[in-house]
């Protein structure tokens, strides 16, 4: 009985949670639905026309750009954050506390106001209209969160192992690579997911910095369906599904790590 109630509650909550997603699926398969009030979100006459119209070589190219940018952002962001977080966790040095506070502070300035000065800086560096410029900006903006996450997790890994390895003659670099990183896998997975999502979903900066349709990322392409006078709901919804699907897939793949990685350290720390 009690179990039944629990399941009933969970089922209802899950329905509420996925309802908007089903609504998007419905719109993608039957765009006319934007003009009909129905409770049941799935289409009566589904057709793949929206997907069909969406998919051309340019779209494929933009999809590839998005994957490339997100993957590189993740790789660079992680590399930079892991070393910084490890130093913050293990070494004591002047400026450590100030650094941690400064990282948190960077989360507080409204991002909408950063695009104009950033444009000027990228212009100086000759990195406008290039995916590498975008990767650099995304990787950097994801650093503060990543360092905080990873530092919290590193703090919970007992130091005894590292001390033992040090006695055995391992160099600090080896200790970091061979002992700390494998132990921190769940946290690294979560952090990677975060960097990936930052890059995958962003469109304001991408639309400002990129000048070449073949270099656009998917969200910029998607934004074109929301026009001045009308919104192309079918195309927008189909695009939205294509944009969301990989992130969901990664979520599902990582979900076990996700739960451990986000906080496992917090309680003991």
């Amino acid at each position: 009985m009690k179990r039944g109630l629990l399941h009933a509650a969970l089922v209802i909550l899950c329905l509420v949670t996925i309802y908007p997603v089903l609504w998007v699926v419905g719109l993608a398969l039957e765009p006319q639905q934007a003009q009909a009030r129905r409770l049941w979100p799935l289409p009566q006459h589904p057709s793949l026309q929206s997907f069909h119209e969406l998919f051309n070589w340019l779209f494929a190219r933009q999809l590839a750009n998005s994957i490339l940018v997100a993957a590189l952002t993740t790789a660079i962001g992680l590399l930079v954050s892991m070393t910084a977080a490890y130093a913050m966790s293990r070494f004591s040095f002047p400026g450590r506390k100030l650094g941690l506070t400064a990282l948190l502070a960077t989360q507080m300035f409204p991002a909408t106001m950063m695009s104009v000065p950033l444009y000027a800086i990228l212009n100086r560096l000759h990195l406008l209209n290039s995916l590498s410029g975008l990767v650099l900006v995304y990787a950097t903006t994801s650093v503060p969160f990543c360092v905080w996450m990873l530092k919290g997790y590193f703090d919970t890994i007992p130091r005894d192992l590292e001390e033992a390895a040090l006695l055995d003659g391992a160099t600090p670099g080896q200790i970091f690579r061979k002992i700390v990183l494998p132990l921190a896998r769940p946290a690294i997975a979560v952090t990677a997911l975060f960097s990936f999502m930052t890059a995958w979903n962003e469109f304001i900066l991408a639309a400002t910095f990129l000048d070449d349709a073949a270099r656009f990322t998917l969200p910029v392409a998607l934004q074109r369906f929301v026009g001045e006078y009308k919104t192309e709901w079918g195309h927008f919804a189909a695009g939205a599904l294509i944009v969301s699907a990989p992130v969901m897939a990664v979520f599902f793949a990582l979900q076990r790590h996700l739960v451990g990685g986000l906080t496992a350290g917090g309680v003991k720390g």
């Binding site: 629990l6 930079v80 910084a84 989360q107 106001m113 006078y229 309680v267």
Partner: protein
């Protein structure tokens, strides 16, 4: 082959889609084939990003050689030198004139006109009184006499001019939103919509389209883009009855003031105007060609006639600040909150406040001296603190953190400092003047509006706090509750539930925002469908503060609870099980166990998540901007969306917006310092 390589590229930016884009592509192909000097490269840019992209790219020398855009922003752009003067003279030249010089080449004209369903109405009404009479007569059995987005000032202009009203008073170009003519025009619409039910409630463009296609709207005010959406209706188009003068947008090909290939840009612009190209634009692109006085197509001909009597939109930067106050006034009248007179008086005051005059220029020297002294004090303090501290063995630590901090310095701290610096300046038409602390003083003294009005800093701050508290409480509450339900290791289908409940996190938040906005639509939204299935009358979500705010909170809660759920799940799993067993043995109740074991052990994990979550929510621009858009009357705007409006919707007051951002930053810094101190004291106690 060599000749091909030597072709100079002419970069063209446009925001066309569909048929217009295809027509343009065809013309580029023809142009490239006809001459051997230039090669045109087109780039389609999202309409929403166009203006901001252009204004950042052109000064940096990265802009296009030629761009196609409506003439509305020409005033500011011409004075800032973004556009080069042209030798055009002919129809609609005056719309392209700034300070006596002509800029660009007019391609197409766009204005609204009257669509009517021939099955319901024989002939387009010849006068505005006749229009009202026809609309009333046609309203019966679920058919609306007239439909158009009543809260959009772009459409309302037609009515306003029908009663002799105008936005600015000449000479002097002073705002005149609350004239008796404007009040009469708004009262006319209010009566049609609220008293007579001639205009449907919340007539968004989707609803208008749907009603017209179902034969449930006798007349519709709409533009040429509507033609492609009509299905299965026998209809006609006629100019709106005089003296109604809808806004006219003149889409022009504008040669950039910093073009690398100005001659090529001009050559292609002239080609677009040629009769050959005009024919392609009209037939393939469906454009109402500016330079063709009598199109063969009867629909385009009707729009061309309308363009003749329409009012070219004011191209001064002041016009950009008119939309927001007008929209707010229209929405509050249509929502039944205010009468036309009160609403327009408010709009007038708001417009005057937003087009604030430049504060007096200050001498920056004293500020620089204070800044320099401050830097010296900080340096001295840092030196004193570092003295006696050993740097031995720290080289490795610095090597590890330096890549992160170097990139942060360059790409976060520098733009951030530039943003802060901007808050001491006033921006007007491309020129910055140093005004010292005046921007801050104006914000904090709430000049021009009472503290209890939506535009005052304190009102917006209060809303922002309410918004943050509601959201974070719901995120933590729901997240924690779900985590407690899911933590049971024996629960079946656990991983399925977990996966489904995490889904919102994976959806990009601008998609979430647009989808929920659609679901809250009064006629078509799923929320309304659910309410009517339960026998409750659907409501207009965005006409009252409480419901609009609730809609924002619901959207953001949907988006944010999975993060807290995952954090809480992780934290719960790492609480040793024996603690609960020991407590059970001691006879502690479930609630007591939760109070004394679960909560205290969760706190260290939840606290950082709560701090970060509240900072993110405090600055959650996308949801506010896309879901309620500040409706009603700007009351649901939060500080970041206000800052955005000052920068991009109110005369480009970048300095004022930067001051808002700086205040947000200072506030959040204080908040996090406070929470961390409280947490530390609690731990110590």
């Amino acid at each position: 082959m060599i000749a091909v390589l030597a072709l100079a590229p002419v970069l063209l930016w446009h925001a066309y889609r569909g048929a217009e884009e295809q027509a343009l592509a065809q013309l580029i192909e023809r142009f490239d084939a006809q001459q051997v000097e230039y090669r045109v490269e087109a780039l389609a840019i999202p309409y929403d990003a166009f203006a901001s992209k252009l204004t950042s790219a052109i000064p940096g020398g990265h802009g296009p050689d030629l761009f196609i855009f409506a003439h509305e922003r020409l005033g500011g752009w011409a004075r800032e030198g973004y556009v080069a003067p042209s030798d055009y003279s002919g129809p609609f030249g005056d719309a392209l004139t700034v300070d006596g010089r002509v800029y660009g080449y007019p391609l197409a004209v766009k204005s609204v006109a009257l669509f009517y369903n021939r099955a319901l109405i024989q002939e387009a009404p010849p006068t505005i009184d006749e229009l009202a009479r026809t609309a009333r007569a046609a309203t019966h059995d679920g058919v609306y006499g007239l439909a158009y987005p009543v809260t959009d000032f772009y459409y309302h202009q037609a009515i306003l001019s029908g009663f002799g009203g105008a936005v600015f008073e000449e000479p002097g170009h002073r705002p005149a939103l609350d004239t008796p003519e404007a009040v009469r025009a708004l009262e006319f619409v209010r009566r049609l919509a609220l008293d007579d039910g001639v205009i449907p409630e919340e007539p968004t463009s989707v609803l208008v389209t749907s009603l017209f296609n179902q034969g449930k709207a006798a007349m519709v005010i709409n533009g040429p883009w509507f033609i492609g959406e009509i299905r299965g209706v026998d209809y006609g188009v006629a100019p709106l009855p005089p003296p109604m003068r809808p806004f006219l947008s003149v889409e022009a090909a504008l040669v950039s003031g910093r073009a690398r290939e100005p001659a090529g840009a001009q050559a292609f612009a002239r080609y677009l105007l040629s009769p050959e190209a005009a024919a392609v634009r009209a037939h393939q692109g469906g454009q109402v060609v500016a330079t063709d006085g009598a199109p063969a197509d009867p629909l385009l001909a009707a729009f061309r006639r309308q363009a003749q009597s329409a009012l070219p939109m004011d191209n001064s930067p002041q016009m950009q600040a008119v939309w927001e106050p007008e929209k707010r006034a229209l929405a509050s009248v249509m929502g039944g909150e205010l009468g036309p007179e009160a609403a327009l008086a408010q709009a007038q005051r708001r417009l005057i406040a937003t087009t604030r005059a430049a504060p007096p220029t200050r001498n920056p020297a004293p500020y620089l001296i204070v800044l320099g002294a401050g830097a010296l004090v900080v340096a001295a303090l840092a030196r004193r603190r570092l003295r006696g501290r050993s740097f031995r063995g720290t080289a490795r630590a610095y090597a590890y953190v330096s890549p992160a901090f170097a990139s942060l310095l360059l790409l976060v701290v520098v733009p951030f400092a530039a943003g802060m610096g901007l808050s001491f300046f006033h921006h007007s038409e491309g020129h910055y003047t140093f005004v010292g602390l005046q921007n801050f003083a104006d914000i904090l003294a709430s000049r021009d509006y009472r503290i209890t009005e939506p535009m005052s800093f304190y009102f917006t701050l209060a809303i922002t706090l309410l918004w943050t508290v509601c959201n974070v409480a719901l995120h933590v509450g729901i997240g924690l509750a779900l985590a407690l339900l899911l933590k049971d290791p024996l629960l079946r289908f656990k991983s399925i539930y977990r996966v489904l409940l995490i889904v919102p996190w994976a959806v990009p938040n601008y998609i979430t925002a647009l989808v929920w906005k659609g679901m809250f639509h009064r006629q078509f939204g799923a929320v309304s469908a659910l309410l009517s299935a339960l026998g409750i009358q659907p409501i207009s979500w965005f006409t009252h503060f409480s419901t609009a705010f609730a809609a924002n909170v619901v959207t953001n809660t949907w988006l944010g609870f999975p993060f807290m759920m995952v954090v809480a799940l992780g934290a719960l799993q790492s609480i040793p099980h024996d603690l609960y067993e020991a407590a059970s043995v001691d006879g502690a109740s479930r609630w007591k166990q939760f109070r004394h074991i679960t909560l205290p052990l969760l706190k260290p994990a939840l606290l950082p998540a709560v701090i970060l979550g509240s900072v993110w929510t405090f600055n959650m621009f996308n949801i506010i901007y896309l879901v309620s858009g500040g409706e009603p009357g700007g009351s649901t705007d939060i500080l970041v969306s206000e800052a955005y409006r000052w920068a991009f919707q109110r005369n480009e007051q970048f300095g004022f917006a930067a001051a808002y951002s700086t205040l947000i930053f200072i506030f959040l810094l204080g908040y996090s310092a406070l929470t961390r101190r409280v947490a530390r004291e609690a731990e110590a106690a």
